[in-house]
């Protein structure tokens, strides 16, 4: 045999080999802002999904087949989310997706996954519209903004006894949705907000809005949005001498909130609604320890992402790796995860939400209140 023939044979063998390996993999997308201003959250999603997949593969995979993760970057932009959703479905051959992070990305992407019959479990998108669309393939392992707004509003009314509440948002699907949900519950409790306004994402000067907050004499400022705006906002609020209590949602649950605010002194006393701490679940405690041993602090949505991957794995492995049947199965079966037993209603929402109030301290860390 000539050299060229040997080379050709080896090459075709190699290609055949690659194809066989690819067929034996279950491709799952991890979609979120892996770059851009919200990349900190993308990292949380990736770390959680990566570890869950590694743990599942180590335990034998899904019906004997290994999980292969594909990173899909939407940069928290709806347009990019749609194009990477198409890519995941068409060229990567994903059967399920863990993601996205931003609700404004999750909602348009979810329709593409539905058409392609791909299972979608988001660890972090909390906007009610996502599951209210009635798509059969969409699930979430976090709560909804109306539940989150309810916890915040009742805390403002019952515990803080605040009468003058300013509601600020960042005009985005998530931020405005959360602010609206909180405002609606506040109004239901009989507290009318003294100010309701949006600011522009990407700007850093909020002095004009803050002077207005001062002028309406607010004692609580509720902000719906992400840490990149919340940081400068709370800093400039304190610089203008306002002592108003600052409350926000799960969009600020990142160490970057402290660095963007300029110093831990500014975030001291900031309140935040977020799911119950992972360490309150026995299985969660063990995973948190494993993360820490590997040198990564699993803050924010890391464990949610781990949980989402477990939900995907349960749905696929119990249904012969069929994502459509898996989605149906999830509506009537509960899944044991590192964050406890999860049950889904027919919309794809959790039957039990676990929001609690957290407080940031002068060391730049957050702990549950009481």
């Amino acid at each position: 045999m000539s050299n060229a023939v040997i080379k050709k044979t080896l090459l075709s063998l190699a290609i055949a080999g690659a194809v066989t390996v690819a067929q034996a993999d279950v491709v799952i997308g991890v979609a979120g802002p892996h770059t851009g201003a919200y990349a900190a959250f993308g990292e949380q999603l990736w770390k959680g999904a990566e570890k869950a997949a590694a743990d599942i593969n180590a335990a034998g995979g899904l019906n004997g087949e290994m999980i292969k993760l594909v990173k899909a970057d939407d940069a928290c932009e709806p347009k990019q989310a749609v194009s990477i959703a198409n890519r995941l479905v068409d060229s990567d051959g994903a059967v399920a997706v863990v993601g996205h992070f931003c609700s404004s990305s999750s909602i348009p992407a979810s329709r593409i996954y539905e058409e392609a019959g791909v299972l979608m479990v988001t660890p972090a998108s909390t906007n009610p519209t996502l599951t209210d669309q009635g798509l059969p393939n969409v699930f979430r392992v976090c709560g909804r903004d109306d539940q989150q707004g309810d916890v915040a509003a009742s805390y403002i009314v019952d515990t803080l006894k605040a009468k003058r509440v300013a509601v600020i948002h960042d005009k985005d699907t998530y931020g405005k949705g959360l602010a609206d949900a909180t405002k609606a519950t506040l109004n239901a409790y009989g507290v009318k907000e003294v100010m309701y306004e949006g600011l522009t994402r990407g700007e850093k000067d909020f002095n004009a809005v803050i002077t207005k907050i001062r002028s309406v004499d607010a004692d609580v400022v509720y902000f719906g949005g992400l840490h990149s705006e919340a940081g400068p906002l709370v800093r400039q609020l304190r610089e203008q001498g306002s002592k108003a209590i600052f409350i926000s949602g799960d969009g600020i649950v990142s160490d970057e909130f402290v660095s963007v605010a300029g110093s831990p002194a500014y975030v001291d006393g900031v309140l935040m609604t977020f799911g119950a701490p992972p360490a309150s679940y026995p299985a969660g405690k063990k995973i948190v320890q494993e993360f820490r041993d590997s040198g990564y602090e699993p803050e924010g949505y890391t464990l949610y992402s781990y949980t989402a991957m477990q939900v995907v794995a349960a749905a696929l492995s119990n249904n012969n790796l069929d994502p459509v049947k898996g989605a149906e199965w999830l509506m009537s079966h509960s899944v044991n995860t590192v964050m406890g037993k999860k049950d889904f209603d027919d919309k794809g929402d959790l039957t039990v939400s676990d929001y609690v109030m957290y407080e940031w301290n002068a060391q730049g860390k957050y702990n549950p209140v009481n």
Binding site: K212, G231, S259, G262, A265, Y266
Partner: protein, 303 residues
């Protein structure tokens, strides 16, 4: 009353920063008749250099605020100026005699290159610098108060100083005369022995330095930045330059102040939701009434 005064303070400081950045747009337009769309990203680069400069200075054990700020200003303005020079060499000089459209495209390309370069080398995350200067002066007005932080005072002072020095350079020095001559008629100026290439380089460097001044001040004040901060502020400063009359130095400063004040007053007294809608409507209105901007001269078609 106190609220209106406070919004004036907010608007003045914001506007003076817009004015500083607008100088870069207006000078480059004045001299080669093109819009430098990479200018906002030069500002963004200077925010990163500011953080690096602060880190360097504290690393060498310098703790006192005046030395840190002077050192940071000096380092950042110098390094960003060098960026301005290199950018002109790479993206604009080779296209000096091409159509305006090609230069426009290369400017936008430069902007994207800078954004991606910073994102890839520094990470996409939000960055922050610690608060260095705290405290404020407060005046009681009626039952409320108006306050201006020391940082905001510093912003006003340094931007006015920067603009003053620049005006002096352009009006009174030999370099300024060469700039003005090149602006009036590049071919004639070069026949009379002015190295117009050098003048154009200098203008890019000066523009970048002014943006760097703004970059240091804003970064120290707000603390937070990422690779994308140049976009919005660049558009705003460009608007300020057009509002004041692009090509005119005092116009850039005036445009910056008007834009900053109108934003603060509109956001503060009416609604911040529609603040940008208002500012840009104002721009359109002024351009309808005075197509060349407030202090701009109508362009005469050269034959």
């Amino acid at each position: 009353m106190d609220i209106v005064l406070q919004q004036l303070v907010n608007g003045l400081t914001l506007g003076s920063v817009y004015g500083l950045i607008a100088i870069g747009y207006t000078m480059v337009y004045g001299i080669i008749g093109m819009i430098n769309f990479a200018h906002g990203d030069v500002y963004m680069v200077s925010a990163y250099i500011t953080a690096i400069a602060i880190a360097l200075l504290t690393f060498f054990g310098i703790e006192s605020f005046p030395i840190i700020i002077i050192g940071t200003l000096f380092l950042t303005v110098a390094v960003t100026g060098a960026y301005g020079w290199v950018i002109e060499r790479i993206a604009y000089r080779p296209l000096r005699n091409s159509s305006r459209l090609s230069v426009l495209i290369s400017a936008i390309g430069m902007s994207l290159i800078l954004q991606n370069y910073v994102q890839l080398s520094q990470g996409a995350n939000q960055q922050g610098v610690p608060t260095l200067l705290t405290g404020a002066i407060r005046f009681t007005v009626g039952d409320g108060f108006v306050q201006i932080t020391y940082m905001k005072l510093l912003i006003l002072f340094i931007s006015l100083l920067g603009m003053g020095v620049l005006t002096y350079v352009i009006q009174k020095t030999k370099l300024g005369r060469m700039c003005r001559a090149t602006q009036q008629d590049r071919k004639m100026a070069s026949i009379l022995g002015i190295d117009t290439d050098k003048v154009i380089s200098t203008v890019f460097v000066i523009g970048a330095m002014m943006a760097a001044l703004a970059g240091v001040l804003i970064t120290l004040d707000y603390g937070a930045f990422d690779f994308y901060v140049g976009f919005i502020i660049g558009i705003k400063a460009f608007t300020a330059a057009v509002l004041g009359g692009i090509g005119s130095l005092p116009g850039a400063m005036l445009g910056g102040l008007i834009l900053g004040l109108s934003e603060a007053l509109f956001a503060g007294l009416i609604s911040s939701d529609y603040k940008d809608v208002f500012s840009f409507s104002l721009l359109v209105l002024i351009l309808v009434i005075r197509p060349s901007g407030l202090l701009g001269k109508p362009e005469v078609e050269k034959v």
